[in-house]
């Protein structure tokens, strides 16, 4: 048992580069994130901001050609980037669990659901019918006999959640787990995921585009941009009073939070594809309140209003886009949370 005082996950100034031939893409450019036990953290940001890379980094699941010029990753105090293959596999097996975007693709198409669950849990005898009942699958005996192409995406994701939670992982990384699902099923899957996580005391890292969902299910939010975490604080603080201009813009561009009849605000320009470290702030080219400092000096993390911000001019004053008014989302306590 590791001391309860060490954080479950420490991502410390990690630089990750995908190298193919002479081409270099810097997916993470000094990312920092520390997650404590039992936290539910939402990671948000546009596509290409480095969310998925950060999620995969936690289990060192990035492509073989990825280089890590700087930084370290600790899960339960173990340095993930330095572990030998067998210890790494054990870490993935015993502490981590991943829930991917495409649940049907994550299942072996040639094996019945029951067979894959038995294979995945072969060192841990489990009552599969009870396991599927926990994830609210009706008629589990029948589902166990089906092949992945014979079940719906929502059901496949429930099977994946069951497979992931069967080992009571310390950390669950869910990469847009509802992106491939119908809107009705989304909420159900999220509820299931967070309820089970609360029951098992599992920490959740939810990579998401859904700011409203993050507001409902997560107590903390980390906003990523250009391979860095640019704002990190409690969901309520960050979403109601963003300090980083990017957070403000992202929140203004969220269609779920826009008021009817108002024009949806967009963020001008496109997110960068980095090939090397930027001299100044990565958001500078798209930021309306940027000045000379922003173009030349890399912002260092600073604490503003109870959260960490990477900005030279933090604060609501620096917000280039007005946040749409209306009721601010509150971080709700999910069902079943009290049982934990």
């Amino acid at each position: 048992m590791t001391a309860e005082t060490t954080p479950l996950l420490v991502i410390d100034d990690v630089v990750a580069e995908y190298r193919t031939g002479s081409r270099v893409v810097r997916a993470l450019d000094g990312a920092d994130l520390t997650v404590g036990r039992g936290e539910r953290v939402g990671i948000v940001g546009e596509s290409g901001s480095g969310k998925s890379t950060l999620g995969l980094l936690t289990g060192r699941l990035l492509p073989k050609a990825t280089a890590y010029p700087r930084g370290r990753v600790l899960v339960d105090g173990e340095s993930v980037l330095d572990l030998p293959p067998d210890r790494l596999a054990r870490l993935r097996r015993e502490r981590l669990a991943f829930v991917p975007q495409d649940p049907v693709g994550a299942l072996d198409p040639t094996l019945r659901i029951g067979r894959q669950l038995r294979l995945a849990l072969r060192d841990k005898p489990t009552d599969l019918v009870a396991l599927l009942e926990r994830v609210l699958i009706r008629d589990p005996e029948r589902v166990l006999r089906l092949y992945p192409h014979e079940i719906s995406g929502g059901m496949a994701q429930r099977v994946i959640v069951a497979m992931a939670m069967a080992r009571r992982p310390a950390l669950l990384i869910a990469d847009e787990p509802t992106a491939a699902l119908d809107s009705q099923v989304r909420e159900e899957v999220l509820r299931l995921l967070f309820t089970l996580a609360a029951e098992h005391g599992t920490t959740v890292l939810w990579l998401s585009h859904d700011l409203g969902g993050v507001a409902r299910w997560c107590d903390r939010i980390a906003v990523m941009y250009g391979g860095r975490v640019v704002e990190d604080g409690t969901t309520t603080d960050v979403l109601t009073a963003p300090q980083h201009p990017y957070t403000a813009a992202l929140s203004a561009a969220d269609p779920a939070r826009a008021k009817d009849g108002t024009r949806l605000l967009t963020i001008g320009g496109t997110p960068p594809v980095l090939t090397e470290s930027t001299p100044g702030c990565v958001f500078c080219p798209r930021c309306t309140s940027a000045d000379d400092t922003c173009a030349t000096a890399r912002p260092a993390p600073r604490t503003v209003e109870g959260r960490t911000v990477l900005c030279h001019h933090p604060g609501p004053g620096g917000t280039p886009v007005p946040v749409p008014d209306g009721p601010a989302p509150k971080a709700a306590v999910p069902d079943g949370q009290e049982e934990a």
Partner: protein, 323 residues
């Protein structure tokens, strides 16, 4: 129930195809320039001599009548008499088929036992690197080296330096089963070179294709050991293209051992068929082509059947269960 209906349907279709093939080959053999009478009696034979020979074998009758006569006998297992050797074709096939089948089985065994593990090994080697490049070179070489070149080389080496295995002396199965296999070992090896190379290549490509599938990434993320991933999740997913290739190779070997049989003096079907074709020996050619077609059709049927069992997404066998 669905399985049985499917199998019955496919078998009926196969029989119809065979019937069609028999019509085609019957017509094709007779459409070839130069008839039996021309080739056997020679250019100096008189018209009446030719007519007498034709009448003796029923070649003067209308083609349709000849066909129906042949078909009636063929259904009963009588494929007629070789015009050249004057022996029943069925008897000759009975003697020669086991030789070719043994040769094919040996070559196939080598193919499966060497080609598939080699392909899986090179496919799962991380990065490929130098080993992968060497593997590709060897398989490209093996696939482009003509059988007669390699065969001639082997015959030369083994006859010149007496390397332990005899060349050109076939030992019948009935005399000495082990010796029979031994006498077919060298030709089987020569045949297998292409097949091993092709199988290794196809297996490797299939394995590489499966390795990038998301369910493999999911298994890696679950912390499954590499060996278990290959055993449980890669092999079966990569099996279909390999099965298809091995089935095609089987049919190819059964019909394509001609050169090797000649080279190694093996009394198999291949040499018999080529001789039959040279002499416009209709009965021999008809039976041979029909056999080859039957083998191809059976192998295809088998592949469809097995593919459906290996990969449930291929809906050949039965209907899908409702989601």
């Amino acid at each position: 129930m669905d399985h049985i209906r499917w199998l019955l349907g496919r078998t009926a279709a196969a029989l119809l195809t065979l019937l069609g093939v028999s019509v085609l080959i019957f017509a094709a053999v007779r459409a070839m320039p130069g008839s039996y009478t021309d080739l056997v009696l020679g250019p100096l034979a008189t018209r009446s001599e030719k007519a007498a020979a034709a009448a003796r074998f029923g070649l003067d009758r209308p083609v349709v009548e000849q066909y129906l006569y042949w078909l009636r006998n063929a259904v009963q297992g009588d494929f007629g008499t070789s015009l050249a050797a004057r022996t029943p074709v069925a008897t000759e096939f009975g003697d020669r088929l086991p030789v070719t089948v043994t040769l094919t089985a040996l070559a196939l065994a080598l193919t499966v036992l060497i080609g598939i593990p080699l392909g899986v090994y090179t496919g799962t080697r991380e990065g490929g690197g130098r080993g992968g490049a060497a593997g590709r070179l060897v398989s490209a070489f093996g696939m482009s080296l003509p059988e007669f070149v390699l065969g001639s080389l082997v015959v030369f080496l083994f006859t010149r330096y007496s390397l332990g295995l005899s060349v050109g002396t076939y030992v019948p199965w009935s005399q000495d089963p082990l010796g029979s296999v031994g006498s077919l070992f060298l030709p089987a090896c020569v045949l297998a070179v292409f097949c091993v190379a092709a199988t290794a290549r196809t297996t490797r490509d299939a394995v590489l294709g499966v390795l990038v599938e998301p369910h493999i990434a999911a298994a890696v993320a679950r912390g499954e050991p590499k060996g278990a991933i290959v055993r449980h999740h890669v092999l079966r997913n990569a099996a279909v293209p390999v099965l298809t290739l091995v089935a095609t190779l089987t049919a190819y070997l059964l019909g394509g051992t001609v050169i090797i049989e000649r080279l190694f003096n093996v009394p198999g079907l291949g040499s018999y068929l080529v001789d039959g074709l040279d002499r416009r020996d209709y009965a021999v050619v008809q039976a041979g082509v029909l056999l080859a077609a039957a083998v191809f059709i059976t192998m295809n049927l088998l592949v469809d059947l097995v593919s459906g069992l290996v990969d449930p997404r291929i809906g050949t066998v039965g209907k899908r269960a409702d989601a």
